[in-house]
Symmetry: C2
Subunit: 421 residues, 2 copies
Amino acid sequence: MPDCPTCGFSINADRLWASLMELARIGATPAGGNARLALTALDGQGRDLLVRWMREAGLQVRVDAVGNIFGVRPGRSGSDAPVATGSHIDTQPTGGKFDGCYGVLAGLEVMRCLQERGIETEAPLALVIWTNEEGSRFVPVMMGSGVHCGVFPLETALAATDLAGLSVRDELQAIGYGGGEPIGSVQPRCYIEAHIEQGPVLEAGRQVVGVVTGSLGLRWYDVVVQGQEAHAGPTPMPLRRDALRGAARLIDQVLAIGHDPAFAPHGRATVGQVQVHPNSRNVIPGRVHFTVDLRHQETPVLDVMEQRLRALVDRPDAGLTVQLHEVQAFAPTPFDPALVARVRAHAAARGHAHQDIVTGAGHDAVYMARVVPTAMIFVPCKDGISHNEAEDADPAHLAAGADVLLDTLLQQAGVAGRQRP
Amino acid sequence: MPDCPTCGFSINADRLWASLMELARIGATPAGGNARLALTALDGQGRDLLVRWMREAGLQVRVDAVGNIFGVRPGRSGSDAPVATGSHIDTQPTGGKFDGCYGVLAGLEVMRCLQERGIETEAPLALVIWTNEEGSRFVPVMMGSGVHCGVFPLETALAATDLAGLSVRDELQAIGYGGGEPIGSVQPRCYIEAHIEQGPVLEAGRQVVGVVTGSLGLRWYDVVVQGQEAHAGPTPMPLRRDALRGAARLIDQVLAIGHDPAFAPHGRATVGQVQVHPNSRNVIPGRVHFTVDLRHQETPVLDVMEQRLRALVDRPDAGLTVQLHEVQAFAPTPFDPALVARVRAHAAARGHAHQDIVTGAGHDAVYMARVVPTAMIFVPCKDGISHNEAEDADPAHLAAGADVLLDTLLQQAGVAGRQRP
């Protein structure tokens, strides 16, 4: 791997990999994955390990009231807002070793490199571990970054309970991470997060780095097709009001919206959930409920996609009625174009095959983009599989992404003796 | 209602209706239906009422080892096999007042008419109440007629248990209907069963009587469409292997087999059950299971329909695999053409709007057709609804069907002073 043309060095790929594997021992599953749910004792052990590593790398650790951990590396200009990176170390119940952890440990690896080379930056740097990104145990998801960015109040987060009735407030205390730092007291000047892609695009295109330009907007709908339940044997075809026949045709047409080249490459239409009533082998379905998930990176295009959806449900098959309800919506979030351009330039300078990409999944960076200039760096994951114990990634790809992170952080923070941007 | 041109009289429509309503008090549900599951104490009460009515109508009651009740009315030719009618009085858990009960009480009404007019038939007549036709509490369904007709052994029926672990053997004893009559000791010479249609055909055609020509053959299949589960956000449309997209298209095409005019009017294709995995709003389905139910009254046509089905699953969409398994099959059962012709002629002679029809649902008559000449008489039910507390029927239609039953039974048995057929 070539050293960075601007920085003159690269991260230590072996150390990055070894740290990922060491963190993955905490909550390791027999199938090779990780189960380290937010604010469990295992999450506490993971945090303890990271805090030790942060301090060993010369970072000043501060924990805020929702358990977000900020490891700050002072810069020459002491009081400046830091250039930040980070992610999360909580996992899904049957999660993998890379989702979130990669972003945290790539950031740590950058800090370690700077420490061992004695490099001082102009602005401070910060490595952030956000609390409960996954939302598997407590909702809302992306809890720590959501509170930090003012998306919902601290009290909402602290009052959230898991299925056993345990609260975020109590579980933070139990693992020793209900910190004294006020929310927002560490406010980065910009934020760059490295992450595995969690999709198949980079692998399919034989790319090493994904330059993330923003996140897709999202709209969720419920659709109910109503017909007439009847016995399969005695009811001739022309007299049926088969809700499933109508639903099957609608589902195919809804998916066709996503496949329409007019909305490519970032248009998505998904039907994930179907419930058939009464769902009996010899009964013609009287009612079918299904969900629709539409995504695109531009609100006006999402509007057009939604119009297409509404037009479909407005002309049901004879004998059927169809109802559509919007249940949730998130606007598209573009990342900071200047910061994205720097990520792109560093990937190119390193000679890594790279492409622009959008994130369809939520990340702490999507909330951070609401308050400070933000970018993300994606690396491929094997077969595009994530939220799965089979999640895997190529050490060379992980190193490549961390190098681009190093370059971008240094350029943003400014290196002593060089011009800050 | 005109009297029968051959018999010179009609059944008592008011008495038939009153008896239906009196039986329906036993196990009546608040919503107006009936819950009188097989071999419960309520079924015992219903049987006791019917046995009393049978004896009052001059029938000699015999109960066999599986609880089938035979009420025999002697004929002039004492030892002849009887001409039989009947049905069942057990119901679904949320059943109606007419399914089964109508056939039993129409037969009883015929016996009452003959008694009050002092009419003697040449051959004996028999009214049969079959045990556990519904199969809601014990399987196999159509248990009493199945044992009688040798479809499965007596021991299979007696050993069957309900969800509480109670056996047919013990529950028969508990209600006093484990009879001493050997299976098959009363073997009718022919069998005619009256029943509500349980479908919408007669009502849609404004018909009063359905002349049932036989039962549809039935084939049940399981289909599994396998793709690749993936997150809805990060996975572009062209890289998806969406099992639900493939399943939705297949379901529409499978239903189109039923709608093909080549298989009309008796071809049926139903997809009643769909299971989507993992069935989560923002996950592209990796696997979909659905059932297929194909029906037709001719085996060669069912073969063609099955070929069409197999051809569909043999060319799955790209990225998907499809598996098909046949899980059960029943051959079509034609009823006795001569007996069916007599039912048709009597309906016509009574001046009732009538049409030929097939039964898509199972009935005791379908098993009886395996061993003796058999026919069925259908009458409309409201909106085609059955197996439902809302089940309803027009008293005039019920009377019309019972009149046709009267005529057909008398013609088959021969009336003293007339020529037996």
